[in-house]
Symmetry: C2
C-alpha cells in the first residue's frame, strides 16, 4: 500500500520525529491523462525546512496533516497518458512518498543514456543548477576570481567547487570535520577551512585567503556570512541561496563586519534557482560539458527506505551528508 | 593666528572632547602656485568617525597629532596662482581649520551666482551627490517605487526624500522625534516613522508601508537595516552609504530578517560617493533642475565658531542636526 510522510506538527527550531507521520495514500484509479509512478529516489533538501513553517515564502508552506512534497525520480508503472508510457523514467515534485499519481504534464521524462536517475536530483538537477546560476549569473564569477563557498561538501557547494575550478577560479571551501575537508580538497578546492575546527572561522578564512575573496557563495549564513564580509575584496559579489544556520534558529544573526559592505562596495544578492528556469538550457549545456569531461565527482549519501526519510532530512542539519543526501526506495 | 583641530587620541566608541585639540598652524609664506584660503564654512560628516580609527578603509585614517581634514568652503585671501585670484570663492578638503594653504589645483572654484557657498557642502555637494547616485544609480529607483530612507532629516536623507519625490516615487522616511518627523513630512515624504517613538521600528515601518518597500537607502544600519529587510518586496534594492548606528559601537549588529535576502531576492550594494565622480555632471545637471524648480528645501544646522567644531561633530551621533550640520566661521 502506498504511503507518504505527512507533516503533523509545525516544528519549532530543529524538527523532531514526532512532527512527521507516515500515512497510507489513497490508492485510487487513474483519470485520463494521469500516470502512476513508483518512486525510486527521493530528495531531501534544506529549503524544505522553510516550508514547514506557516509563513509566506517563495514556496507555499506544507499543509498540516497532508503529504509533503519535494523532488523525486521514478518509473511510470501505470499510464493513461500517451506521452509517458509504462517504463518511462521521470522526475517530478511528488516526493516524500513511495508512489505518486500525477497528470503527465507534471512529470518530466529523464534523458536517455547511462546517467543514473538520481543524478537528476543532484548535480544535474536543482542543486547543480543552483550552483551554476548562483556562481556564474548571480555572483558573476569569472576566471581569476577567488571564490569562497560555504558548505562545500554539500550538494550545492560541491558543485560550486567543481564548476569554479572548471572555469579557472581559485576556490576556498568550508566544511565540517577532517573527512569532509579532505574530500572537498579532492574535488579541486585550493584551500578548505574546517568550521568545526579550533580556529575561529574569520581567522581561518583570512589564512586561507590572504589576498581576500572576490566572490562568496552562501549556503550557510551566520558566521560564514560574517567571515566573508570580513575578507571581502573591493567590489566583491555575494550570491545567497541558503542560510542553513538560521533555518532552525530563533536568535538573530550577529554580524561584526556588516559595515564592510560600504568600504568594500560589496554587492549581495539573494536568489532562488527557479528564477533561472528560463535559462535551463545554458545549465544543461555547460554542466553537460563539465560532466562529459569525466572530471566531475558526483557523491551521494544514501539513506535506505521510506521509513528512514526523516533521518535523512534531519541529517542535513547536523552535516551528515557528503554530496547529495538521498533516500533510496 | 591660524588654528586647526588635531586628533590627539583614537576614540574608543563615541569620541570625547579630549580626543581633539585646537592647535596653531604654521603660518608660512606661500610657494609658487599656492593660495591662502580663509575658510567660511566647515563640514562635519559621519564618515569622519571612520577616519579616526587606525584601520584600513576607503579613506586613510587621520594621523595622530596632525590637523584633521574635511570639506570646507572659503575665500582666497592671498594668491600665488593666476587661476585663483584673491577674492575667489573655493571649495576644498582642508577643513577642520580656519585658514588653509593649498596648491591651486586642490581647490575648486565655486560657480558664480547667488547660491550661498555653504550649499556646496550640502545639497549641491557631497551629501547631495551621495543621495543622487545612491538612489538613482545604486538602487536604480524609478517612478512608482516605494522608497524607505533612514536618517531622513540628515543631510543625505533629506536630499534623498526630495529627489525621490521629484522623480515620482513614494517615500517613507525615518527620523528621531516629533520636530524632525514633521520637517521630513514637510519635505514631501508620504510617511515618516519616528525611530525614537514607542513603536518598534519594524512594526512602525510595516504600518507606514503596508505594501512593502522596493528600495531602501541606508544611512543608519542596525535596526533600520533589519526593518528594511523585514518589509522588502520581491527584487528590492538596498543602497548602503552609511551605518551611523555602528560607527561608535563595538557590539555586533543583530539581524532577525537576514534570510529574507533569499526569499525576496534582495540586492544590497555598498557604495562611496567618490565612486561616481566621473559622472558628476549628471548630478550637477539633474540636481540643478530640481533646485531651480524652487521646490528644494535646503536646511542647515549651524554651529558658530571653530572652537565649537567638536560639538558639531559629536552632535551628528545624537541627532542634533536637521539637514546639513555646518560650522560657520
Amino acid at each position: 500500500m502506498a504511503q507518504a510522510w505527512n507533516l503533523i506538527h509545525r516544528p519549532k527550531g530543529l524538527p523532531t520525529y514526532t512532527d512527521f507521520a507516515l500515512r497510507a495514500l489513497d490508492n485510487r484509479d487513474l483519470a485520463d491523462g494521469e500516470v502512476r509512478i513508483a518512486n525510486r529516489w527521493l530528495s531531501v533538501d534544506p529549503y524544505m525546512r522553510g516550508r514547514m513553517n506557516d509563513t509566506k515564502s517563495y514556496v507555499p508552506p506544507f499543509a498540516l496533516g497532508e503529504p509533503m512534497t519535494g523532488g523525486a525520480v521514478g518509473e511510470v508503472i501505470e499510464s493513461r497518458a500517451d506521452t509517458l508510457p509504462v517504463g518511462t523514467r521521470v522526475q517530478h515534485m511528488a516526493g516524500w512518498r513511495d508512489e505518486a499519481i500525477l497528470p503527465a504534464d507534471q512529470a518530466q521524462r529523464l534523458p536517455d543514456g547511462d546517467i543514473p536517475m538520481q543524478a537528476y536530483l543532484g548535480a544535474l538537477g536543482m542543486p547543480g543548477m543552483t550552483a551554476w546560476f548562483g556562481l556564474l549569473a548571480v555572483a558573476e564569477a569569472k576566471a581569476g576570481d577567488t571564490v569562497f563557498v560555504s558548505a562545500a561538501a554539500g550538494a550545492v557547494g560541491s558543485s560550486v567547487v567543481q564548476i569554479a575550478k572548471a572555469k579557472g577560479m581559485t576556490v576556498i571551501g568550508s566544511a565540517g570535520g577532517a573527512d569532509k575537508v579532505d574530500w572537498v580538497r579532492s574535488l579541486g578546492a585550493d584551500a578548505v577551512v574546517d568550521y568545526k575546527g579550533d580556529v575561529p572561522l574569520v581567522k581561518a578564512l583570512g589564512e586561507a585567503a590572504p589576498d581576500g575573496i572576490d566572490v562568496y557563495f552562501d549556503n550557510v549564513g551566520g558566521d560564514h556570512f560574517d567571515a566573508a564580509l570580513a575578507h571581502a575584496n573591493q567590489n566583491a559579489r555575494f550570491a545567497v541561496c541558503g542560510m542553513i544556520d538560521g533555518y532552525n534558529a530563533s536568535e538573530p544573526v550577529a554580524l561584526r563586519y556588516l559595515m564592510r559592505i560600504i568600504s568594500q562596495r560589496v554587492r549581495i544578492r539573494g536568489f532562488i534557482v527557479s528564477d533561472f528556469l528560463s535559462r535551463i538550457s545554458e545549465f544543461h549545456h555547460g554542466m553537460g560539458e563539465i560532466v562529459a569531461s569525466g572530471r566531475f565527482q558526483r557523491e551521494e549519501t544514501v539513506v535506505e527506505g521510506l521509513d528512514a526519510m526523516p533521518d535523512a532530512f534531519l541529517g542535513l542539519f547536523s552535516g551528515k551528508n557528503r554530496g547529495k543526501m538521498l533516500v533510496k526506495l
